[in-house]
């Protein structure tokens, strides 16, 4: 019940992100979600794509350093306090959050969040116990392809 995120090392210099996205577009790779963690010298680009293993191969072949990390994707109802509830569940269970970012799908009034935690199994266990089911890869793919 995780999705695979691709993390890519990108230098913090003008045009570097454009170069990277050009490679994705030339290979027909669509990004579902994107986030960047930046330092003065470099950034870590984090993306969610349909076929992470194929995409990672293409990215590596293009000369980038990247890695695949299993992360949690959770649907967040569009109502006040929804995110707070999930964070509280994780926090109470002592699950430490490394980073998080949000994305949306087009068809529903639902936001999605990616959670990178230290211990995925424990996070999945407490979330499921509280009636929240982290999405898996096929969930994400359906989200988009139903719409087509």
């Amino acid at each position: 019940m995780t999705v695979k995120q691709i993390s890519v090392f990108i230098e913090n210099k003008p045009g570097r992100l454009a170069e990277f996205t050009d490679i994705l577009s030339r290979n027909g790779i669509d990004m579902r979600a994107l986030s960047i963690a930046e330092t003065p010298e470099f950034g870590i680009l984090r993306i969610i794509v349909d076929d992470p293993f194929n995409a990672a191969r293409i990215i590596k072949d293009a000369g980038y350093v990247c890695s695949i990390t299993p992360v949690l994707a959770v649907a967040i109802p569009d109502e006040p306090g929804a995110l707070f509830r999930i964070l509280t569940i994780l926090g109470d269970a002592g699950v430490n959050l490394e980073y998080t970012y949000a994305f949306t799908a087009r068809k529903e009034d639902t936001a999605y969040m990616i959670f990178r935690v230290e211990n995925n199994e424990k996070a999945i266990e407490v979330l499921t116990r509280n009636g929240i089911r982290p999405l898996c890869r096929s969930d994400l793919n359906h989200m988009y392809h139903d719409e087509d």
Binding site: F9, A37, F42, G63, V65, S67
Partner: protein
């Protein structure tokens, strides 16, 4: 008026100097052959015996010594006296973490301090002066050498060592220091700090003796103008004794080599052949009077020119130009010797690839060292915390190896320029030579 510490030596006739050199060389070769098995073996390999060396003319027959020999013979292999006769060790950074260790007898220290005393007097120093020694004290030869020289001329000596700029400036003002000895980059920094604090009219400096790193004429003018002093160059290396092997006089057109203690040669760094006077090449020293660490034909790797033109200061000893470059890949950063191989060792130990570039720059007269490292899959992580923690670890390891701070920049794989498949290791933006 030009002042000399030992006028009868410093202004001796060429014939006199040559006769000292001939006599001392013969004696020294015998001493080394008898007491340094490492060098004796080198001589035997070359088929040379002490009997073959009858004057300076025969010097070229002797084998060279290099930094690699110092490493091989570490720590005692080149020591020419029993340790019971040695009273001091000084040291410098060396390749792959192994330092150069030099030994001194009391006699060696006396002569070294004489050389530094000559340098201070050439810069106008007398027993009326207050000499602030802001070179590092300890293993580094800078502090010890100038400190001893200052004592010899009877000046009031302020053993400040390096660092703590506020205290440096306070002592300089309160105690009326008239001569400052430090690296040129630190002098420039001191000048800046003094002017920032508006203390320029509180200082009494008249001269500075600056060495241990390369500096340009522009930097000399900068320091001279901002402190209102005359800035003198001094040259030396731990292997040969320390600062004072050569020093500048009032003419400021090269540094007089103390030829009563050292014979200087210029060789072709490729072939090892001795080049005629006035040629540009690698500087080689033979120690004539040293007992404990008597290196013969030591290759300094510094590229320079020797000139015997008559000097307006009255000294007769040969002059060397400022070093114009190196015949190896050693860098001098903040007065510290840095070899790319040291950086490579650290990178490999820490799991990084040997794809790196060293960038040296001078920002406001102060050296900056940066090591660019190509990111590898092994070192990469999806969290910034982990990558920066690894980066910090690398900075610490580099500091432990080099003794100075180097900024680490992680760059994209294959982004470091390669020429003919080989990476360009060093980018020196300082334009010192």
């Amino acid at each position: 008026m030009e002042r000399y510490y030992q006028p009868e030596i410093e202004c001796a006739s060429r014939e006199q100097i040559l006769s000292w050199q001939n006599e001392r060389l013969v004696k020294q070769v015998r001493h080394v052959y008898d007491n340094v098995p490492y060098y004796r073996k080198k001589m035997e390999e070359k088929g040379v015996t002490p009997d073959d060396i009858r004057s300076v003319e025969d010097l070229h027959k002797l084998p060279f010594l290099t930094k690699a020999d110092l490493r091989d013979a570490y720590p005692y292999g080149l020591c020419g006296e029993p340790l019971s006769k040695c009273v001091r060790i000084q040291s410098t950074s060396g390749t792959t973490g192994r330092r150069v260790v030099a030994f001194y007898t009391q006699h060696d220290i006396d002569l070294w301090e004489d050389c530094c005393a000559r340098a201070i007097m050439a810069a106008g120093g007398t027993n009326e002066d207050v000499v602030q020694v802001s070179y590092g004290y300890g293993l580094f030869t800078g502090g010890a050498g100038l400190h001893g020289g200052s004592h010899k001329i009877g000046a009031l000596t302020l053993p400040m060592s390096s660092g703590n700029t506020d205290r440096q400036i306070q002592f300089m003002c309160d105690l009326g220091a008239t001569i400052i000895c430090c690296t040129p980059s630190y002098a420039a920094y001191l000048a800046e700090s003094i002017n920032e604090r508006g203390l320029r009219d509180q200082i009494h400096l008249k001269a500075g003796i600056f060495g241990a790193e390369a500096w340009t004429q522009e930097m000399r003018r900068d320091i001279e103008n901002s402190l209102g002093i005359k800035a003198y160059d001094i040259y030396g290396l731990t292997e040969i004794s320390g600062p004072g092997v050569a020093f500048e006089c009032s003419a400021q057109t090269g540094m007089h080599i103390n030829e009563d203690h050292f014979i200087a040669e210029i060789i072709d760094p490729e072939t090892g052949e001795v080049l005629p006077e006035g040629s540009k090449g690698e500087l080689v020293f033979t120690c004539l009077t040293k007992e404990a660490f008597p290196l013969l034909r030591y290759r300094t790797r510094d590229i320079c020119v020797l000139t015997r033109e008559k000097c307006s200061c009255g000294r007769t000893h040969v002059k060397m130009s400022k070093p114009m470059g190196r015949s190896d890949d050693m860098l001098i950063v903040k007065g510290v010797n840095v070899f790319p191989s040291q950086i490579e060792t650290v990178l490999l130990n820490k799991g990084y690839a040997a794809n790196y570039q060293i960038i040296v720059d001078r920002v406001g007269n102060s050296d900056r060292l940066e090591v660019q490292v190509e990111m590898t899959p092994e070192m990469f992580s999806d969290t910034v915390t982990l990558i920066t923690a690894r980066e910090r670890e690398l900075v610490e390891a580099l500091k432990a190896m080099l003794g100075i701070y180097a900024k680490v920049t992680l760059v994209a794989p294959k982004s470091i320029a390669r020429s003919e498949g080989k990476a360009v290791r060093i980018v020196d933006k300082r334009k010192l030579y």
